[in-house]
Symmetry: C2
Subunit: 342 residues, 2 copies
């Protein structure tokens, strides 16, 4: 037992606030985001804001619960305004929804983790309002979250966000790629830009050019383009059982993600030039980096890949505006599971 | 449209790795943690490691899904060894399990978010192995996670972790505190130390004394004492329906957390001296900070509070080794909902 009492030093904090943690600010943040969060409540939501755990009615034992955890990488470093912070909130929810959508699941509920070097209540509330809007638009309840203020971990002015989603799909509609066959068509759905991957590289390459004009805004604004959510356009395709598999193109690009939906022994033969690339990728290609490295780092214009029977290709393309055939499933020969990039 | 091609500058990164993101290291990390994660698979787990979403069989529509998101604050700043990193992994899981336990829920599955300034595969694997061990010990499947390497956000050498848990309870056993009545007994269950709250203050106060001996180790080691998990000891109490409410004492301490289980109009009268305090709190009390501030920042030796009928008090105390009666539920008079601290 050591219970010696130390003399109080002048430079030691006298309160939690002096140690960098402002509870009053945290409480103000919670008050600001309460209304937006309430707007996402679903019929199945049980229990009150502020409880230790958030409760949602279970969908039934013939269903599966599909979950995913995601961040948005260093895209957060480009944010300057509260409106842009709200965009990051939407990015995070869309990323999570797309991930569980690849299993055929629709969102049930979402939780967030926010960490700041310094908590600015209105900024944190903007982030959460973006999440709440995206959740409400897709029938998902924002049921909880954790907000931390940690100047010792985060660089001055930095913040990070992580999202956790749980969705559900009836067991007989669970999509695991096992129905994918040689000869299946691959359909690419357009991305809106980098979505939430490759920012550590893109920001470094473009550091001096962020305010240059590109399209209708600056390069910085184009880099902040929203991570598209594919739930609404893919819902009819899933409802009709037309998709054999889905791959969400995030970190690792086409070569890192398409194999995640493919059964063993199968590979994807892609015609990457079939898909038009948003202008930002042309700017990035201008730096002359290795082409395969580019396709491993960025989505290069393709946000989601759908595998379907070639006989359903026309129907799938009609259901998905702007989608294009980008290849087909082949037998794997050699180590490469995505052929046609390099 | 802006598709001008920039000249390549010598100091620009030529690859994702040069931009601070090492995909090979990330892949090595995943290989290292695969086995530990597989060991947590439950009967209800569906689908493969590496899929976009993790699937678990739904427990049935007579059940509720209870979820929570948590971090461990700046406790991470005290970690020096891989064994200590594993301890942080256990802390995170225990924190999450305790949160949903307050609703009467048992864990189903857990996902993590890890972010580093520099990813060290063996260190990241140690963190996840701690999580996997804690999950396996409590019947919880570690179904997924996200690992990010973001030197632009995190201070040199820093890392952060967040956890997300989903558990379940049958709807008729859901604990929301609504059965708590005036006269109910409050039982305190001992904490092992600070658990995962108050570290920004404690580390600052004790910065020069971390290697001083305290008990069987150094102050730093005592600060790293594990966040206790109360699932196993509370399970029989919950099974027999003896708890009217549970409060997990985390950020905000007794005054911030006990009211979260209380119905409106009720307050807690606590006898804080009834509970022995681990030595670290005596050291912290030695700095002469405001007593109420101390009780709002730290758990001060009480990790969980159980509300029960006074007629069941003896049975509850017998079921919980080291637990002590620390007060009773009273009618709220004035603004204070926890009386007896200042």
């Amino acid at each position: 037992m050591h219970d010696e009492v130390s003399p109080i030093k002048q430079d030691l904090p006298r309160s939690y606030a002096q140690a960098g943690v402002d509870i009053a600010k945290a409480e103000r943040t919670i008050a600001l985001l309460r209304a937006g969060v309430h707007a996402t409540a679903r019929e199945a939501t049980v229990g009150a804001f502020g409880a230790f755990g958030a409760a949602v009615r279970s969908p039934g034992s013939d269903h599966l619960l599909v979950s995913s955890a995601d961040g948005v990488g260093t895209k957060v470093c480009l944010v300057r305004t509260e409106a842009e912070a709200a965009g990051i909130g939407r990015d995070l929810v869309h990323h999570c929804i797309n991930d569980i959508l690849t299993c055929g699941a629709r969102p049930l509920f979402f939780l967030d983790y926010l960490a700041f070097s310094q908590l600015e209540p209105s900024f944190a509330a903007a982030l959460v309002s973006g999440m709440a809007n995206a959740c409400a638009a897709h029938g998902c309840a924002l049921v909880g979250g954790e907000t931390a203020q940690m100047p010792d971990l985060y660089r001055e002015g930095a913040f990070d966000v992580a999202g956790f989603i749980v969705g559900t799909v009836s067991a007989d509609r669970f999509l695991d790629g096992s129905s994918i066959r040689v000869g299946d068509s691959l359909v690419g759905i357009a991305s809106a830009g980098l979505h939430t991957n490759g920012y550590s590289l893109a920001r470094r390459l473009l550091a001096d050019r962020l305010e240059e004009p590109l399209g209708s805004g600056s390069i910085r604004q184009v880099l902040l383009a929203e991570h598209r959510c594919y739930l609404q356009e893919l819902a009819p395709v899933l409802d009709e059982g037309l998709a054999h598999g889905l791959a969400h193109i995030t970190g690792g690009g086409l070569p890192g993600n398409v194999p995640r939906m493919l059964p063993e022994g199968l590979a994807a033969n892609v015609h990457i030039e079939a898909m038009p690339r948003p202008a930002i990728f042309e700017v990035l290609l201008g730096y002359g980096l290795d082409r395969e490295e580019m396709y491993r780092t960025f989505n290069m214009g393709i946000g989601m890949v759908v595998a379907c029977s070639p006989k359903n290709l026309e129907v799938v393309l009609e259901a998905l505006p702007g989608a294009l055939p980008i290849g087909e499933v082949v037998e794997q020969r050699g180590a490469q599971r995505v052929v046609g990039i390099s």
